[in-house]
Symmetry: C2
Subunit: 193 residues, 2 copies
């Protein structure tokens, strides 16, 4: 999606350690007009696909998912919560996700009330790198017995392989900007087309 690639080129900054900062418009300050265009584009890409619900994970996915949902007939958005601890009371689906950014494992939960067997789910998130967060959400979806129709991702760091691993497993991954290479010294960013 050229609009998003252009914003990343002009306002994104590449930091050492394969970090791309896009907090000017995506995940700290939010450009909701851009989010709306992103939602429109996912709706175009997933046209004809049954989507009963959008699943995302706090915090940065929430705004994108809620604005995008308008383009999917206002389906409910459920966001997985980063929990203090996994409460095994049977009321929640839970998993554990390792964050390379934070270098620690954290528990993630979704109430069983909000994922129902047989529902068709679109997973939306701001970033896809190694895929740890999304694999955690997939694990929850498998336990819940929902059908994952695909992934709507804003920025995929293609060179980290998480997206292609999901595609090899047969999942449809629609990343609106897919980074082939980025360079912290020069600031150059190249996209897969």
């Amino acid at each position: 999606m050229k609009l998003l690639e252009d914003r990343i080129r002009t306002e994104g900054t590449v930091k050492p350690g394969d970090v791309l900062k896009v907090d000017a418009f995506l995940n700290h300050q939010c450009d909701v007009a851009l989010f709306d265009k992103m939602g429109e584009e996912w709706a175009r890409l997933f046209v004809g696909t049954r989507v009963d619900k959008i699943l995302t994970i706090e915090a940065s996915g929430i705004g994108i998912a809620c604005v995008a949902a308008r383009h999917f007939n206002n389906v409910p958005v459920v966001f997985a919560k980063k929990a203090q601890s996994i409460n095994l009371d049977g009321e929640q689906y839970s998993t554990s996700i390792y964050s390379f950014t934070k270098q620690k494992e954290f528990p993630v939960i979704v109430s069983k009330k909000y994922l129902n067997e047989g529902e068709h789910v679109l997973i939306v998130d701001d970033f896809l790198a190694n895929g740890n967060a999304l694999n955690g959400l997939l694990h929850i979806c498998e336990t819940a017995g929902v059908i994952v129709e695909g992934f709507g991702i804003a920025v995929e760091k293609g060179f980290q392989g998480g997206g292609d691993a999901l595609r090899k497993r047969g999942y449809r991954v629609e990343s609106l900007a897919n980074i082939r290479t980025m360079n912290a010294e020069t600031g150059d960013i190249e996209f897969n087309s």
Copy 2:
């Protein structure tokens, strides 16, 4: 706002300790059509008020704020982040908020880049109880030198006093549902009109 009060009456549940669960439509599963109506209502209430930016706090405020921003000419939404620790590198405004729900203090940060002196800000959040979270955001706004035009709140627990304390300080607080009393035994909820 009758629409929101009705949803709270039908789908909200009162738990012991003055806890109101509205995770079916507000802060775990999100009804984005409802969020849109809430945004429309805040826009009606704050008509004629200059709003350059909407400020909220992760996680539950983000979806509401991003959908509402559409009714404020798509102004940017900035969400304060709950941080692991306060990084005193001078690039962030920071404060500390005590959460009664979690019974602990947690640091909150906003990048200095996204709050600029003289900007007019509307603060949006899902809940207002004792006001700790919003006072933290106010503290950040004061430090940044932005003008807080008011608060757009989904659910105020009026009996906990945080909203009235803000009103006494001269702030405009527009809560779309303001709870006067609620009873965990009977499940009854009464609203201030």
